[in-house]
């Protein structure tokens, strides 16, 4: 087994991941993400994932070994912010040509490393492997090792060629490279009982700086941020932190867990999106540091800062209340924890007519139900057309979502706000929530919408594409309703498990045929919930709704 595939297996076997723990042994081996579907995949590759995860290290030269496509088509596309070096934004690639493919690209890579060192003298170089050199057998580990010895500088191989899997896997492989080659290789000048690591935070739009002043004020030192506004040396001595916060995404959970394993740094998973989450995270950081030996008075100071910041934020949000009266929001997001944002939006007087729970845990869903009532429309996975219908039917005034679904709203002339990556405003911490309100207000009250909704004077008002789409959907719905057989077909075709593509009918049949009563039973027979596990709740609901199993005795 090559070292790369061994690493991948290792990454898949992630005990820190709740979703992973949910799987059977066999399932786990298959990997932690759904199999890519030719013709149906739109996400990034493992190289992309690795680059995204590491690129925010600002003083490092990121050298991509591969043909021009890998780097040439993708460079300078991330909005991370740096407080120092801008070397990370420079693009370095070996731009392999035909000759390199025939004779091997190792020499070119070696020369490239030398050139980068000569010209830019970075504290370290990260060398990214891509598909083509991996295919022809370029051994980047060997080249990096040779170059590191020769030039007396860390040259770190990041072995995550695109074809090994999706972006998410690349994030983790990048983490492995850090664990293997960087973390623990240097020592800090000094340590304090207030040293923490922030893991999986990329400082997009510089938004982490919306929170960092609070940590500074509390005297909490970020020993290393992996990787937003990160510096190589900080990363190298990050093993001396007292505690770590893993920010929201699970992208770098392997780093957090293995640092706990190897260096005894406890970590928690937290978020700085939303007022409540920010407070919880600050408290948790303080609690962990105190547990690791910081003076107990840290908690008092933390509570004081929390109280002050919350009061400021709620007071700032107050002014939006009259503007948000009777306004409805459709919230579709996976990345940002929905409920935390939900609470803040509601506090500002917005009515949430629907929210996505795609990447939320069961507790999150419960929380959302608690906040929004049983009727809360929770969206799992929608086609753009359905999303549009939802916007219309719910009479939402604005949609908040990630970049991909923006066109559903925008083309339908509905206000929309990007709350995932690629946005240009930071929404982190207390300040960020207020900024979010500001942006919502701006979008809601833009007079442009009224103009755009007016049909062209020469068009019949009823024949725009929106109306057509709605009419089509209504007609379809009516047709289905009129035909009980079709209606049943449609009902049964409803997808329950998105990872394993299992529909309601299959699950119901399995329940009936085998007299199943548990989610595990359903998983065993249908594979449903064998992926991310997010559909467990749905399967439970189905189990409850089923007539008492007839074959229970046989089980």
């Amino acid at each position: 087994m090559s070292s790369l595939s061994a690493t991948i297996q290792d990454v898949f076997n992630e005990p820190g991941c709740g979703k992973n723990a949910n799987k059977t042994e066999a399932e786990r081996k298959k990997g932690c993400t759904k199999q890519l579907q030719p013709g149906g995949a739109a996400g990034g590759c493992a190289f992309d994932g690795a680059k995204i995860a590491l690129q925010p290290f600002t003083d490092v030269a990121h050298l991509v070994h591969g043909p021009i496509a890998c780097e040439g088509n993708s460079w300078d596309n991330r909005g991370s912010a740096s407080s120092g070096s801008d070397l990370w934004r420079r693009s370095f690639t070996t731009d392999m040509n035909e000759t390199d493919i025939v004779f091997g690209g190792e020499k070119r890579l070696y020369k490239a490393i030398r050139e980068v060192i000569e010209k830019y003298d970075p504290p370290a170089i990260f060398v990214y492997q891509t598909c083509v050199p991996a295919m022809i057998g370029d051994d980047i580990n060997a080249v990096c090792k040779a170059a590191a010895t020769k030039f007396g500088k860390p040259v770190i191989p990041v072995n995550s060629p695109g074809f090994v899997g999706p972006k998410n896997l690349g994030n983790k492989l990048a983490g492995e490279a850090l664990l293997e080659h960087v973390i623990g290789t240097e020592e800090p000048d000094y340590t304090t009982p207030y040293d923490i690591n922030i893991i999986g935070e990329y400082n997009l739009s510089g938004e982490f700086w919306q929170v960092k002043p609070l940590l500074d004020e509390l005297g909490i030192r970020i020993l290393s941020c992996i990787s937003g506004d990160g510096k190589y040396r900080e990363l190298a001595y990050s093993h001396r932190a007292k505690a770590a916060m893993m920010v929201c995404s699970k992208a770098m959970i392997n780093v957090a867990r293995k640092m706990e394993e190897r260096y005894g740094i406890p970590f928690f998973e937290g978020s700085f999106y939303g007022i409540q989450d920010s407070s919880d995270s600050l408290r948790e950081i303080a609690r962990m540091l105190i547990e690791r030996g910081a003076p107990a008075e840290l908690m008092e100071r933390t509570e004081a800062v929390i109280a002050r910041e919350e009061a400021k934020a709620w007071a700032a949000i107050e002014r939006f209340k009259p503007r948000f009266k009777d306004k409805k929001v459709l919230l579709i997001t996976g990345g940002v924890k929905s409920w935390s944002v939900v609470a803040a939006l509601q506090e500002a007087g917005l009515e949430i007519v629907g929210t996505s729970v795609k990447k939320s845990t069961k507790e999150d869903k419960e929380r959302i139900k608690e906040l929004m009532g049983q009727d809360a429309h929770m969206i799992e996975d929608m086609t753009p057309r359905e999303m549009y219908k939802m916007l219309k039917d719910a009479k939402a005034d604005i949609m908040l979502s990630g970049g991909k679904s923006q066109f559903v709203a925008l083309k339908a002339a509905m206000p929309w706000l990007d709350i995932n990556q690629e946005r240009c405003h930071g929404y982190m911490g207390y300040i960020g929530m207020v900024k979010l309100m500001e942006e919502i207000e701006k979008a809601l009250y833009n007079p442009m919408w009224a103009q755009l909704r007016k049909p062209a004077p020469w068009d019949d008002a009823g024949v725009n594409w929106q109306a057509k789409a709605m009419a089509q959907m209504d007609a379809q719905a009516a047709e289905i309703a009129a035909d009980p057989v079709r209606a049943e077909e449609v009902r049964r075709a409803k997808k329950i498990c998105f990872c394993k593509t299992v529909d309601l009918g299959t699950i119901e049949d399995a329940i009936a045929a085998h007299g199943l009563a548990t989610v595990d039973g359903v998983k065993e027979h249908t594979n449903a919930s064998g992926g991310c596990g997010a559909c467990k709740g749905r399967i439970e609901d189905i189990l409850v709704a089923q007539p008492a199993p007839v074959l229970q005795a046989a089980e």
Binding site: Y190, W209, Q210, P213, G219, R308, K442
Partner: protein, 460 residues
């Protein structure tokens, strides 16, 4: 409704306004074979001339009656006579357009009377087109000079038409305001022609100052609408006036020839163009060409893409009334706030500007207002550049003069396409400014009013 106030300052600092006579000369530049003539001292012409040359980067014909001190006191008849004769003999123009200036108006020269005398004295000039417009510097502004001059052209050059006379249904008179560029006029010409209409632009700067390389050297204007074509404008089915300043000329046309007119105060933005295109469809009897349906969709999409950057911007705009009204309304409709609006002269559109107040003032006023109101987008002509650099806010050049950037004559704002390009330019400007000047730093969100002592990390 905006409250229109006039600055009470004695001293205008960094003027926004250009003078009325050169606005008049500017209008004459849209006529073929024309020689604009300022009845004033040499400087009146040479300053204006320099502005036009710097703006268009073209040879610009413009003459002066070169009033001396003595002539100014005694009256300028000889100077006007001399100027007309010299121009007539040397440059063989098709028309001479005369605007008065502050000097000659202060003296009170009766130029209309002079012209009658000159025609009597020189019979070969009896039928020669001479148009005189009174445009004292000390009154009104550039836009007013244009307005009065075009109206006068209609009164003098258009042949009267009897009420029942047959009209050419495809013919349309277009009276564009001075806020439109030659590029705008070409865009409009294309739109008219796509509806099968035959437009006559009065004046037509697109023919003269569109920056083409002429086939031969001419001391007069190298293109534009001919006097003969102007004479026959009474045969058109419709007059379309663009910008409130053109109402006067349109009314003159209607009075003289019975041609009905429709005034479009704005042609920048979605709804104004919807109205415009629908009107063309109506008068031409043709359906809206696919091209414009597509362009409309493109503009709608451009608005969606750009509103993230334009929305919420606090605009400080200094421009002549029609340009101010057009651009600020479009930006207001995109979610910008018109926080500071300064203009040059009165106009009925000013109270409809989407601002609290509109000040008739100068660029110092605009700068002060922009600063006081935290504006983060400045639109005015090139003289705003110093204010922009002091305010450190993105600056979009619009209006006359634009002397420190190229392509002034081709900058578009009309039509779906022109608006589309404009909103992209503005959004890109904002993005560029954000990249260059507003990158977040670790201290961006640091507040000093924390009230809690900062505890530095302690050595362990």
């Amino acid at each position: 409704m905006a409250i229109v106030t006039a600055s009470k300052k004695a001293c205008s600092v960094n003027p926004l306004k250009m003078s009325q006579p050169i606005g008049g000369s500017f209008a004459f530049m849209g006529l073929r074979g024309a020689m604009p003539l300022l009845h004033g001292s040499q400087g009146c012409t040479s300053f204006g001339l320099t502005l036009f040359v710097r703006h268009f980067k073209e040879a610009v014909p413009m003459q002066t009656t070169a009033m001396s001190e003595v002539a100014t006191v005694l009256g300028g008849y000889e100077n006007v006579e001399q100027a007309i004769l010299n121009i007539y003999n040397r440059t063989k123009p098709e028309i001479i357009g005369i605007n008065s200036t502050g000097v000659t108006e202060t003296k009170g020269d009766d130029v209309e009377g002079f012209i009658r005398l000159i025609r009597q004295k020189h019979p070969h000039l009896e039928k020669f087109p001479l148009v005189y417009v009174s445009t004292p510097d000390f009154k009104d502004a550039f836009q007013d000079g244009w307005e009065k001059t075009v109206a006068r052209m209609v009164e003098v050059l258009v042949d009267p038409v009897e009420a029942g006379a047959a009209r050419d249904l495809a013919r349309v008179n277009v009276l564009p305001g001075c806020h439109l560029t030659p590029g705008d006029l070409d865009e409009l010409r294309t739109i008219f022609e796509d509806f099968g209409l035959k437009p006559s632009f009065l004046p037509d700067l697109a023919g003269s100052l569109d920056g083409h390389i002429p086939d031969e050297f001419t001391p007069t204007t190298i293109g534009g609408i001919g006097v003969d074509e102007i004479a026959s404008m009474g045969q058109a089915a419709w007059t379309i006036a663009i910008g409130a300043q053109m109402k006067r000329a349109a009314e003159a046309m209607q009075e003289r020839t019975g041609v009905p007119f429709r005034l479009f105060e704005r042609l920048c933005g979605l709804i104004p163009n919807d109205e415009f295109i629908a009107f063309l469809s109506e008068i031409s009897g043709r359906p809206v060409p696919l091209k414009y349906r597509r362009q409309r969709g493109q503009l709608a999409d451009a608005m969606l893409d750009t509103h993230f950057h334009i929305g919420g911007r606090k605009l400080a705009i200094g421009a002549e009334p029609d340009l101010l009204f057009d651009l600020s309304s479009m930006l207001y409709e995109m979610g910008a706030e018109v926080a500071a609006a300064v203009t040059t002269t009165t106009s009925p559109v000013l109270e409809r500007v989407k601002a609290q107040e509109v000040l008739i003032g100068d660029l110092e006023d605009l700068e002060d207002l922009a600063k006081a109101r935290d504006c983060d987008l400045l639109i005015t002509h090139s003289h705003g550049r110093q204010a922009a650099s002091r305010l450190k806010i993105p600056f979009y050049r619009a209006g006359f003069p634009m002397f420190d950037r190229l392509g002034a004559g081709h900058q578009l704002s009309v039509g779906y396409r022109g608006t589309r390009d404009l909103v992209f330019d503005l959004a890109n400007l904002v993005i560029g400014d954000r990249e260059a000047n507003h990158q977040p730093t670790p201290d961006t969100w640091r507040t000093t009013d924390s009230g809690l002592q900062v505890v530095p990390p302690q050595l362990h």
